[in-house]
């Protein structure tokens, strides 16, 4: 048995020496692995002639696995906030170490000879790439400058239009509104003068609010009634207590009892009691605590009776009536 050897392509350990590299499975695995790597190499080769420069994006940190060297390689070349696409991979493919590793890899795994050339980049090609890279870097810088100039022109235009609008608005504002009183025109002019002063300084940051212009345009009668600003007292924006939640001075918390008083509670209890049916009544909700006399439960039935209940009840009632009559007689006499 040959010593165990691990094949990185098949990711398996074999005990039959290097014979397995000629097997179909190994060749198939090798082909698949190379096919995985090939598109990236082809894309890099395309960039040889026309290098592309782009703004740096974290996606440019991506790496690619070089099968021949068995190491991870940075795909793109980044410096500062610019990236040259496929720069890293091209650099690696042109390096002599990669050439050596590729040769060894092909020898060990018995790959197809024609395929090997695809994964190598000659130093001449790499020099050509470097030239094109320099050219594209220059053109990228020029483009960036143009964009910046355009943006500056746009901002200047907007500032100019804003100033025009402010000037046109200042002119009709000569007659003060009788409703507003003295405070409003003063404050309006005050803000306007401040606005005019800020417009002198070139500000690239935030443009003054467009709402200002819309208010003029709508013509809706919004009356300004003065700033509601007393420094001592807070308002809704500062989170003060609302006026309806403020405790009155004459009401102390001890006096204010919520809910029924004790007398009212007792009255309720009485009412609840009355809600119950008379305690002497037989049936549901019978108050078992109430006392009952001996003759409470009218049992009409005798012991040895037969027949219906009404018969015995009838009998009982007539006897009771006769008994009552007798008692009445006795009392009279």
């Amino acid at each position: 048995m040959a010593p165990p050897e691990r094949c990185s392509v098949c990711r398996q350990t074999f005990f039959c020496g290097r014979g397995h590299v000629y097997s179909r499975k190994h060749q198939r695995q090798l082909k698949v692995a190379l096919e995985r790597l090939l598109p990236q190499v082809e894309a890099a080769r395309k960039a040889l002639r026309a290098a592309q420069v782009e703004r740096y994006v974290p996606d440019h940190e991506r790496c690619c696995w070089c099968l021949c060297c068995g190491c991870e390689v940075r795909k793109h070349l980044s410096h500062g906030n610019l990236t040259v696409l496929h720069g890293g991979l091209l650099e690696h493919l042109a390096s002599p170490e990669h050439k050596k590793a590729t040769n060894r890899f092909w020898w060990e795994n018995k790959g197809e000879f024609q395929m090997k050339e695809k994964f190598l980049i000659s130093p001449q090609d790499y020099a050509r790439f470097k030239k094109s890279m320099v050219k594209s870097l220059d053109s990228y810088e020029e483009k960036e400058d143009e964009v910046i100039k355009e943006m500056a022109a746009q901002i200047r235009e907007v500032e100019h239009s804003r100033q025009e609008m402010v000037r046109s608005v200042l002119e009709p504002q000569t007659v003060p509104d009788p409703e507003e009183g003295s405070s409003a025109p003063g404050s309006w002019k005050g803000t306007n003068s401040q606005v005019a002063s800020t417009s002198q300084q070139p500000s690239y940051v935030d443009l003054p609010p467009a709402p200002e212009l819309d208010w003029m345009e709508t013509g809706q009668p919004l009356t300004f009634i003065g700033h509601q600003d007393t420094p001592g007292i807070g308002n809704i924006h500062s989170g003060a207590t609302p006026p309806w939640m403020v405790q009155d001075e004459d009401c102390s918390s001890g006096n204010q009892q919520i809910g029924p008083s004790y007398e009212e509670f007792l009255k309720e209890k009485e009412k609840q009691k009355l809600k119950k049916l008379p305690p002497d009544r037989v049936g549901a909700n019978f108050d078992h605590n109430s006392s009952t006399s001996a003759g409470w439960l009218p049992s009409f039935g005798r012991v040895w009776n037969n027949g219906r209940r009404w018969q015995s009840r009838h009998q009982f009632k007539t006897e009771a009536a006769a008994r009552n009559k007798q008692q009445l007689h006795k009392k009279k006499s």
């Binding site: 803000t191 709402p211 208010w215 919004l222 009356t223 300004f224 509601q228």
Partner: protein, 95 residues
């Protein structure tokens, strides 16, 4: 059903000051004694500044406030088209 009260700002200085009513007309909404805030897209969520463009806007706003309040919300999103909401300048004193 909503009850609408027309309040004169000169007769309620305390509330005018509390709600910071600088422009009239301003509409403040309440539900069960709780002040309801609405995000109109304007800087102030505590009241509606200006007049409503159409009656339907007003009705829709009340309905949205009602639905939100019944669900226990304290602030709701206004259904009114932003171009129908009057724009005003939030003037800060001495700035």
């Amino acid at each position: 059903m909503a009850t609408i009260y027309l309040v004169d700002v000169d007769q309620t200085p305390v509330y005018t000051h509390y709600f910071d009513i600088s422009y009239i007309p301003s509409t403040v909404f309440f539900f069960n004694g709780q002040h309801m805030k609405v995000d109109y897209g304007s800087p102030d969520h505590t009241k509606f500044v200006g007049s409503f463009k159409t009656k339907q806007d007003f009705i829709d706003l009340i309905e949205v406030i009602y639905r939100g309040a019944m669900r226990g919300k304290l602030i709701v999103q206004s259904p009114i088209d932003p171009k129908n909401i009057p724009k005003y300048d939030l003037l800060y004193q001495d700035i």
